[in-house]
């Protein structure tokens, strides 16, 4: 019987090695898999390359990972925000390398990796600093920039419901990068709010089919603040 559910977040991240490339879902804090990241921090490994839209917000998620000094490089679209102080400090101290990617190119490169494409030509960024030194081509009269896929060893994502086969549905704008990161990583680990019996997710509504998901961990809802 196939059962992708694991007991704890620590089990789920137990074999991620130092130096791994790790995709982390989320747009700001929506969809950020905080508990999986906490478990990753708990493992004590570093030298990670992180692929995520932002470079951390506040004190949790990617921000906590950077604060703990585990990130060698981050590939993202929007690092600088009012609450990105841990990234800002690490970047100014020269402790973290930044590859800045336009958000749609980030999504397209992640999707390209998951879809098995060798590269993409994108119109975004043409003629800008972010395309300097990159190959370009005119196709049907429009200029494009050659960009390569972004693969990762692991994707940590947050979804709403899952069954034991790893079929996922998401919640509202917490979906964001989850479905495409799940496709692009060798091992996708989803933290979810609710496990449901196999066969109860509407097959017409499953967003990420289980083929893209290797491990699932249920996170108990936080107790309401007293």
């Amino acid at each position: 019987m196939i059962d992708k559910l694991l007991e704890t977040t620590f089990d789920a991240v137990a074999d991620i090695p130092a130096g791994a490339s790790v995709m982390i879902g989320g747009f700001g804090t929506a969809g950020m898999p905080d508990q999986l990241i906490d478990a990753l921090i708990g493992r004590g490994i570093g030298d990670l390359t992180i692929i995520s839209n932002n470079a951390g917000n506040g004190e949790t998620g990617v921000a906590a990972l950077i604060k703990a000094d585990r990130v060698r490089k981050i590939i993202c679209s929007f690092p600088r925000q009012p609450d990105s102080h841990h990234f800002d400090a690490a970047f100014r101290a020269g402790k973290i390398e930044l590859e800045l990617v336009p958000q749609g190119n980030l999504a397209a490169r992640i999707h390209a990796a998951g879809a098995g494409l060798g590269a993409i030509f994108t119109p975004t960024g043409y003629g800008t600093l972010l395309a300097q030194g990159k190959e370009t081509r005119e196709i049907d009269g429009r200029p494009y920039v050659l960009e390569y896929p972004l693969h990762a060893d692991v994707a940590l994502i947050k979804a709403h419901k899952a069954d034991r086969w790893g079929n996922l549905v998401y919640r509202k704008t917490a979906r964001n990068f989850g479905p495409i990161m799940a496709m692009a990583a060798k091992c996708t680990i989803a933290q979810i709010s609710e496990v449901v019996p196999l066969g109860t997710l509407d097959p017409e509504a499953i967003v990420t089919p289980g083929i893209f998901v290797q491990r699932v961990v249920e996170i108990a809802a936080a107790a309401p603040a007293a």
Partner: protein, 218 residues
């Protein structure tokens, strides 16, 4: 000099967004356009983080941290709205499915080049987000901005000195002084605020602005 305030600018942009348009409003000044969209038009607001049919901010206490806009502020979803992932969201832009995108700007060139993501300050931490995708993706890219900097320099320029976001992508500027169409032929003024002459606008911008055939006053 008479000039429109930000609310008047937002009202002016909103007036030009037609029934049925799929629209992305950028962070900052353009976000305010949503407040003035005519109630008798159905207009679809897209948010880059995976939302179409975006509604206004929720009532206090009804915020959902998993229902936010591109500026990471809590929003609502209108009946008929949809959620989708990031590859679909940016396909809507890059694939030319959005009708209109309204962006803020540091500088715009008379040929429609846009600079709005980076001041060029070598000490600044750069961030681009969806700016480059939005700039070149929508069928029409409008810029909404004050035409002059606080120092009185024109933000409409012959050639951008700030780093470029997209080339030849802006078709119209809605500013506090004038509405200006841009294109290969240069900058054509189609509306002026009351009391401002085309020559006065040429003087403050230092540009050879073209005058629309029958220039109305806004």
């Amino acid at each position: 000099m008479n000039r429109m305030n930000r609310e008047q600018m937002a009202r002016r942009v909103a007036q030009d967004i037609p029934e049925g348009a799929y629209v992305n409003l950028g962070i900052g000044l353009p976000t305010g356009v949503a407040d003035f969209l005519p109630a008798d038009r159905e207009i679809f607001l897209q948010s880059e983080n995976g939302l179409l049919g975006m509604g206004p901010a929720p009532a206090a206490g009804d915020e959902d941290p998993e229902l936010i806009n591109a500026g990471k502020q809590p929003v609502t979803l209108l009946p008929g709205g949809a959620y989708f992932h990031h590859a679909d969201s940016f396909a809507m832009m890059r694939g030319g499915h959005l009708d209109i995108c309204v962006l803020g700007a540091f500088q715009v060139s008379v040929h429609g080049d846009l600079a709005n993501w980076h001041t060029g300050d070598p000490h600044a931490i750069p961030a681009v987000g969806g700016a480059m995708d939005l700039a070149i993706g929508a069928k029409q890219t409008f810029v909404m901005m004050e035409l002059l900097t606080k120092q009185g320099d024109s933000k409409l320029v012959e050639k951008c000195t700030y780093p470029i976001t997209g080339l030849a992508c802006v078709s119209r500027i809605y500013s506090d002084l004038a509405v200006i169409d841009l294109g290969p032929g240069g900058a054509k003024v189609i509306e002026l605020v009351d009391g401002l002459s085309i020559d006065a606008l040429r003087a403050v911008t230092g540009l050879p602005l073209i005058e629309a055939a029958r220039l109305p006053r806004s």
